[in-house]
């Protein structure tokens, strides 16, 4: 009973579970909150980066004694601070700076974490041991303290330096996360299969393992990004933040440490606080949606 498979067309009624962007898009369409967040975030970013091109930072941080602590008015939409500087301008530039800072910290830490996580997870063995020891070491460090010490050590305290210092301490979590995922991915047969057909290790890492951890990375990235916005505010409060000539959301929020400002001059710190809140929330909601899209089990039925 020789049976021959003929043309397969009639059986190609395959399981078409959607992949990649279509899943994400479907998730966003389902989750109105995430979609709204995406729109809000997009609008904020476009308008902030757009406006900040027009705004003159020097002009905004210019001290003007004639308009100290002015409440919101038509000339100063959100009033001024104790240096007579326009809060609205600072809010825009500050949002831009804070977002940029958060963005780059996230990028750097994730890239670093990704590289180390991939290497440790893929090669395993002593490479993994070494990387894990390093990660454990960093995890046991009193991060805030060391960041403060670092901040006092750097000669020039600029956004770049700040990003670098923060990144130095924040990559470990990502490396751990990615490592454990890569570790389990590397045990899957497709890696062995690629080895068997003679694909070199670096190529396996880049073209096989990486795409399979990408959804995790994207999710981690967004959620980190939310956490890293306004990350400088705490340091500003303690007196180790960015100079005021580089406005940031943290600086604006920190003005609230003056009780007079906190109680009577809401226009100075409230908008920045709301901005942090809105940015964080919307990024978070987007991240949650991405997470659901990446993890079939959590997908909303």
């Amino acid at each position: 009973m020789e049976l021959k498979i003929e043309n397969q067309t009639h059986i190609t009624e395959q399981r078409k579970s959607p992949s990649g962007f279509s899943v994400i898009w479907a998730e966003f369409r389902r989750d109105k909150l995430a979609l709204g967040s995406l729109i809000v975030l997009g609008l904020i970013i476009i308008s902030v980066y757009g406006t900040s091109l027009i705004l003159d930072q020097d002009q905004i941080v210019k001290v003007d004694f004639l308009s100290i602590y002015q409440p919101p008015s038509s000339t100063h939409w959100l009033g001024t601070d104790y240096g007579g500087r326009d809060i609205f301008g600072q809010l825009i530039i500050g949002t831009r700076n804070s977002f940029t800072i958060g963005f780059f910290i996230t990028i750097i830490t994730n890239l670093l974490g990704l590289a180390l996580g991939l290497i440790a997870g893929y090669f395993g063995g002593w490479v993994d041991s070494v990387v894990m020891r390093i990660i454990d070491f960093f995890l046991s460090l009193p991060t805030l303290m060391l960041i403060i010490v670092f901040v006092t050590v750097v000669p020039k305290f600029s956004i770049i330096n700040f990003v670098l210092i923060m990144s130095l301490f924040l990559w470990t979590g990502k490396a751990r996360l990615i490592r454990s995922k890569v570790l389990s991915e590397s045990e899957l047969d497709y890696v062995a299969a690629a080895k068997a057909i003679g694909t070199p290790n670096w190529k396996i890492i880049i073209s096989h393992v990486l795409p399979n951890v990408s959804s995790l990375i994207i999710v981690a990235f967004t959620l980190n990004l939310a956490g890293n916005i306004g990350i400088e505010s705490g340091l500003t409060f303690l007196g180790f933040g960015l100079p005021e000539s580089t406005p940031s959301l943290g600086t604006l929020v920190s003005y609230a440490t003056n009780p007079d400002v906190l109680q009577n001059k809401l226009w100075i710190w409230l908008p920045a606080s709301c901005m942090i809140l809105v940015l964080m929330l919307s990024i978070n909601f987007i991240g949650e949606a991405l997470k659901r899209a990446a993890d079939a089990r959590q997908r909303r039925g």
Binding site: Y69, T257, D260
Partner: protein, 567 residues
């Protein structure tokens, strides 16, 4: 200026804005506890001894239970009203102190001449690592030998009888009447603690004693000290039952004043708006022994030879310096930024020395036109047409400005200076684009970091009017590295024996102030008010006499049991 005029000027400045003492017509109650707020964002260190303490918080604790033997008048010159009286020898080199009989340590021991000698022996001891061994100390006869371990005693410090002591200097110097060390150490109490262990000993940290109007009842490390009245105080038992000193975070100082948590606390400029609205406190103020300035780095300190060398060509033309001074509007800074708590400085001797402050000096008032003219004259013109001046050779003229962080106002102030100079066409940039934290700032300034062209700083002058420590040719603290023959001559004259003649000394210092004003090695920018918020139940608090509570602490009373609240 003459002395009479000077003092009126001082009064004008002081009283223009704030009363110098509280006025309270209510009837005092007997006893009561005064709550004193030590405004600091960090706890006090707890080195509760005049010889060893370093931070200001500790000195605020000290003032309640310890004092110097000699008290000062409003010019910070020693008078005869303190726990000891003094006599100056005819050659002015020897000063003899006689301690009153009823001056006793709070543990009952009498304060003796040996106690004072002991404090000299401690400060001069090679093992002493504090900061009190200063230039005046080394002027005492035999002190250097003792300090270098060549002698067991200081030949210039002689105990004549248990209550009398004399101190002899190598040269006559009028500073003896303002800067002489008169804080004794309770030798008997501390005697068997080795000198290098003193600062950490329990006698100083846990149970320190003094001979002031109050004595320590309980120390809660870092946060509070409870004092009780020292009934045996030589100047009469204090009227209060005690004082409670509490560390108060600057951000909440005003709020604490408002709800009566504390009775007295200093008020900073950023809290002033709030504080002045409070109905339960009165604000009293006084100019401090300090001035802010902007200095030009004119050279460097040659440490090997111990002299300043004025070799930086950048600001040798004094017209540039003057122009930069004219460019600044210090009046607005004081009024707007500091809410009137600071006033434009006209000299490098603050008005808190009524005798020596040269009120005739006008200083540099805001005059951008004049600044521009001076710069034009000096050849600094804008040849490229970008609004910024080039140097006489047509090269870009860039100035790096170093300024300190700290306090809320530092940043806009620095920005304002930059703006002001820009208006007259000078390209001044903040060094490294940011304010520098205290330590880094002084590290760079002290080491003559070549990146610094000009810098903003402040001097606390101490109560000795002699400016040599900051201005002499060989002074390492002459941060601007200004070297000038007239300057050296005048400084010498100011502390010569002749200068014991007040009139003469005033003239010398007037001349000196004019010289500095004309040469502008530094631009004096602001004099500052120290402002205290005082609860309305406090009676008798007065800043006129000497420093702080000195001399009248025992007379302060309260007029109600509880502090008044702002309701």
């Amino acid at each position: 200026g003459g002395d009479t005029k000077t003092s009126t000027t001082t009064k004008q400045i002081d009283q223009a804005a704030f009363p110098i003492k509280v006025s309270n017509n209510k009837k005092s109650i007997s006893g009561g506890i005064l709550k004193y707020g030590l405004v600091s964002d960090t706890p006090f260190e707890g080195i509760l001894n005049t010889v060893f303490y370093e931070g200001d918080p500790d000195s605020q604790v000290l003032q309640f239970f310890d004092e110097a033997l000699l008290s000062t008048d409003e010019n910070y010159i020693y008078d005869q009203d303190g726990a000891a009286t003094y006599k100056l020898s005819d050659d002015k080199k020897t000063i003899t102190l006689k301690i009153r009989d009823n001056v006793n340590w709070t543990n009952g021991d009498p304060v003796t001449a040996e106690d004072l000698e002991y404090s000299y022996l401690v400060i001069g001891n090679p093992k002493y690592t504090g900061v009190r061994y200063d230039s005046q100390m080394s002027m005492i006869e035999g002190m250097e030998d003792y300090h270098n371990g060549k002698a067991k005693n200081i030949s210039g410090v002689k105990v004549i009888d248990p209550k009398t002591i004399s101190i002899t200097f190598k040269e006559a110097n009028p500073s003896v009447l303002t800067g002489l060390w008169t804080n004794p150490l309770p030798k008997k109490y501390l005697g068997n603690v080795p000198i290098d262990k003193l600062a950490s000993s329990d006698q100083i940290r846990k149970a320190p004693i003094g001979f002031g109007p109050f004595k320590i009842k309980k120390i809660t490390p870092g946060e509070a000290v409870e004092f009780e009245a020292n009934k045996d105080y030589w100047n009469g038992a204090p009227k209060l039952d005690g004082v409670l000193l509490k560390v108060v975070n600057p951000t909440i100082a005003t709020s604490s004043l408002a709800n009566g948590d504390i009775d007295i606390a200093s008020v900073s400029a950023d809290q002033y708006d709030q504080a002045k609205k409070l109905k339960n406190i009165s604000l009293i103020g006084k100019t401090e022994l300090a001035y802010s300035y902007i200095g030009f780095k004119l050279g460097h300190y040659d440490a090997k030879n111990g002299v300043n060398v004025m070799d930086n060509p950048k600001f040798q033309d004094k017209r540039v310096r003057q122009a930069m001074a004219y460019a600044l509007d210090n009046k607005s800074v004081g009024e707007k930024l500091y809410k009137g708590l600071r006033v434009p400085a006209t000299s490098v001797i603050p008005p808190s020395f009524p005798k020596y402050f040269d009120k005739a000096l006008k200083g540099y008032t805001h005059d951008p036109e004049k600044a521009k003219k001076l710069l034009d004259e000096a050849g600094y013109k804008d040849v490229t047409g970008d609004g910024l001046r080039e140097d006489p050779n047509g090269k870009p003229f860039k100035i790096n400005f170093a300024s300190m962080s700290g306090g809320d106002i530092a940043e806009p102030l620095a920005q304002f200076y930059l703006q002001s100079w820009k208006e007259v066409g000078l390209d001044v940039q903040l060094l490294d684009g940011r304010l520098h934290e205290f330590n880094s700032f002084y590290d760079m300034v002290e080491k003559d970091n070549p990146k610094i062209d000009i810098f903003a700083a402040a001097w606390g002058t101490g109560s000795d009017p002699d400016p040599s420590g900051i201005w002499a040719k060989n002074a390492p603290f002459n941060y601007v590295r200004w070297v000038n023959n007239d300057n050296d001559k005048l400084l010498k004259e100011g502390i010569s024996a002749k200068a014991f003649d007040e009139k003469y000394r005033q003239e010398v210092y007037d001349k000196w102030q004019e010289l500095v004003n004309d040469e502008v090695p530094v631009i004096p920018t602001l004099f500052r008010f120290g402002l205290d918020g005082v609860n309305k139940r406090v009676k008798g608090y007065d800043l006129t006499a000497g420093q702080g509570f000195q001399g009248h602490l025992q007379d302060i009373t309260v007029t109600s049991k509880e502090s008044e609240k702002n309701k």
